[in-house]
Symmetry: C2
Subunit: 349 residues, 2 copies
C-alpha cells in the first residue's frame, strides 16, 4: 500500500476562464457594474492594523445587515465564502443518507462534484424538453433535494407553487433551493422557511451585488437547520470570512437603492438582448437571470463559441449532452451586448 | 425518519474569545504589531470596481510571492483561507484509511474536531511528562500523522532529526507538520519535501505575518501531494481566496525586512517575559513560539485565568486533563507584558 491509496480522488469543477487580456467577459455571470459606492468608502477607510486580529468568527456585522435587509432573525442566517462554500458545507451537513440525493440533469455543474467529493450517492432527474423541472420526479424517497431557481445554466424560473409542491412531498429530507440568480426578476421562496423546517434558501453577493471578487454567500432556514450548519462550519474552520469581506459585505447590503437600480439596468439590457438574439435566429428558454442560454438554428454552439473567442468575446459553452449547441451569455453593459450582437450579426448574416 | 437523522452532528471547535471591549488580548496568539506597511499601500490603492469580478482561482500572485520567498516551485505551493482551511482540506484529502490517524494528546484542539467531522478514526499519543513527543509512538501502522512543531499549546519545538525519524518510519501515509509557529526561533522541515513525497508542511500568515484578520494559510509538499490537494480544493470551492487576500498577502511576503524585524522583537519580548515569569514562581516548557505555556507553583490555572480576566487581561485556559493548571499566554508588546507581570506580581506577592 502507498499513501496514494488513501487519497480522496476527485475530478474537480472547472470554473469559467478568467482571461488576463482585455476581453468582453460574458462567461462567468459577473455583474457589469461596480459594487455599491459604500463598499469603496469602507475600503478607503479600512484600518489595516486591525488585520493582525482574527475576524469575528460569527461575522456579526454581515449577518446583522442581511438579517435587517431580509427581515429574518439573525439565528436563521448563515454566511460563507461565496455560495459555493455555503452549498458545499450544506452537502456535508445535510446529505448523509444512503439514498441518493436528487437534482436535475442540466444544472449547476458543482452539485455532482460535491457529491463525488463527499461520497454522497446522487441521481440526476432529466428536465423536460423545455428545460423545465418535472416536479413528480421529486416525489420519490431520496437523501435530499437541490436545484437552482432560476436554474443554471438555463435561466428558467419555476413558480413558488411548483417548488412548494416538491418541498411538501419531502418533509423527511433537506431541500436546498439555490437562488444565486433570484434577484433578476424571480420570486424567492424565502417566506417558506417559516413553514418548512427542512428548507434551506441559498443566495450570493457574486451576481446582483457585484462582489464575486469578495466571496460572500448566505443562506436562510429554520433556526434548527442553521444551527446544524453553523456547527459543521465551526468544525471546519472558525474564521472563514475575513475582515474586509465582513465590513464591505455589510456596507453593500445597506445600499438598497443602488442595488435595485443595478438589477433594473441588467434586466432592461437582458430584455433588449433577447429581442436582438431572436432577430438573429437564436432560440432560448425565457431567462429570469443575468444570462441567456441560447442556441442558433443554423450554427453549432462550438462554432459560435470559438468564433466569439477569436473576436475577444468570452461566453460559456459545454460539450455536454443536450446542451452542446447552447451558449450561456452573461448580460453585460449595453455597449458590450451591442458589440456581441454586432459580431454575431456579421458572422451569421 | 426525519431530516435530522441525516444531519452530520459534530461538537464544534470553540475559538478563543474576541472581546468587544478594550482589553489586553493575549489569548489567541495574534501578533501585537501591524502587518507589513506594504499591505496598507495595497489597500489604499485597491480598486473596488475589480470586486465585481471573480478572483483568480489559482491565487497566482500570492502563490508566486510565496514561491519566490521560500524558493519552492509554484506547483509545490498550496494556499487557503487560513491554515485551518489548508489543514481541514488535507484531512479530507489524505486521511482516508481505515486505520486511525495519530496525533499527540496535548495539541491543537482542531485535529479531533476535523477527524470527527470527516468520520476519520484517530488515536491520541500521550506526550511525555515534559510535553515532548515520543517518536517511537509513531512507528506503528496508521492512517496518517499530524502534529504542530512547535507544538500548541505547549510551545515545545522538536528537532528536525526527530521529525525526520518519524517521517522515515511512515512512507505509506501522509505526514503533516503544522508549522504555524515556526518563525519564532524554530527550524522548518521544509527542505525535507524534496526527500519525502508524503510530507506536507503547513504554515500561516496569522501569527508572524500579523494577518489573522485576512485568513491566509499555505502548504508545501511534493508536486504530487499538492496536486491531489488542489483537486480536492477545486471540488470544494473554486474561489476561496478573495481579491484583497491575494493582493495583500502577496505584498506582505515581499516585505522580508519588516517581517524579520517583527519576529525579532517578539522573540526578545518572549525571552524577557520568560525570565519575569520564572521570578514569579512560574514553570513552563521552553517555548519557541509566540506564546508561553506556564503554570504556577501555588495558584491554579483557573484562579489565575479568572483573576487576569477581571483585570482586563485575556489569556487562554483549558479545563482539560494534564493542562488545567496551565495558562497559554500570547507574547504581546513589551508594555502589555509589563502590565501582565505587574498584575500577576500584585496577586501572587
Amino acid at each position: 500500500m502507498s499513501w496514494e491509496d488513501y487519497v480522496r480522488k476527485v475530478v474537480p469543477y472547472v470554473p469559467g476562464e478568467q482571461p488576463q487580456k482585455k476581453v468582453i467577459k460574458l462567461n462567468t455571470n459577473e455583474c457589469p457594474y461596480p459594487p455599491a459606492p459604500k463598499v469603496q468608502e469602507i475600503i478607503d477607510k479600512f484600518n489595516y492594523d486591525t488585520l493582525r486580529l482574527y475576524p469575528d468568527p460569527e461575522a456579526g456585522a454581515l449577518v446583522s445587515a442581511i438579517s435587517d435587509y431580509y427581515n429574518v432573525p439573525k439565528d436563521q442566517v448563515f454566511v460563507g465564502v461565496g455560495s459555493d462554500d455555503v452549498l458545499s458545507m450544506s452537502f456535508l451537513t445535510f446529505f448523509n443518507s444512503d439514498k441518493p440525493i436528487l437534482f436535475p440533469d442540466i444544472t449547476y455543474s458543482f452539485y455532482d462534484v460535491w457529491a463525488e467529493l463527499y461520497h454522497i450517492p446522487y441521481k440526476q432527474m432529466p428536465l423536460d424538453d423545455e428545460f423545465r423541472i418535472k416536479k413528480e420526479d421529486y416525489y420519490t424517497p431520496s437523501g435530499g433535494i437541490i436545484f437552482p431557481n432560476p436554474n443554471a445554466p438555463t435561466g428558467v424560473f419555476e413558480d413558488i407553487s411548483e417548488i412548494e409542491d416538491i418541498i411538501e412531498h419531502n418533509p423527511d429530507v433537506v431541500v436546498i433551493i439555490d437562488e444565486a440568480y433570484i434577484d433578476f426578476g424571480g420570486k424567492s421562496v424565502l417566506p417558506l422557511i417559516d413553514k418548512y423546517e427542512n428548507l434551506l434558501v441559498v443566495q450570493t453577493f457574486s451576481k446582483s451585488r457585484a462582489m464575486a471578487g469578495m466571496r460572500i454567500g448566505y443562506a436562510f432556514g429554520s433556526k434548527k437547520l442553521i444551527g446544524y450548519l453553523q456547527d459543521a462550519k465551526f468544525s471546519f474552520n472558525s474564521y472563514t470570512m475575513n475582515r474586509p469581506s465582513i465590513e464591505a459585505g455589510a456596507a453593500s447590503v445597506q445600499d438598497k437603492e443602488y442595488f435595485e437600480a443595478t438589477v433594473k439596468k441588467i434586466i432592461a439590457t437582458r430584455e433588449r438582448t433577447k429581442k436582438a438574439l431572436k432577430d438573429l435566429g437564436f432560440t432560448f428558454p425565457d431567462s429570469m437571470s443575468n444570462f441567456i442560454f441560447a442556441k442558433h438554428e443554423k450554427y453549432s454552439g462550438d462554432e459560435l463559441f470559438e468564433m466569439l473567442k477569436q473576436k475577444g468575446i468570452y461566453v460559456r459553452h459545454w460539450n455536454k449532452d443536450r446542451i452542446s449547441d447552447y451558449l450561456r451569455i452573461t448580460i453585460g453593459t449595453d455597449d458590450e451586448m451591442d458589440e456581441l450582437i454586432k459580431v454575431l450579426g456579421e458572422y451569421i448574416k
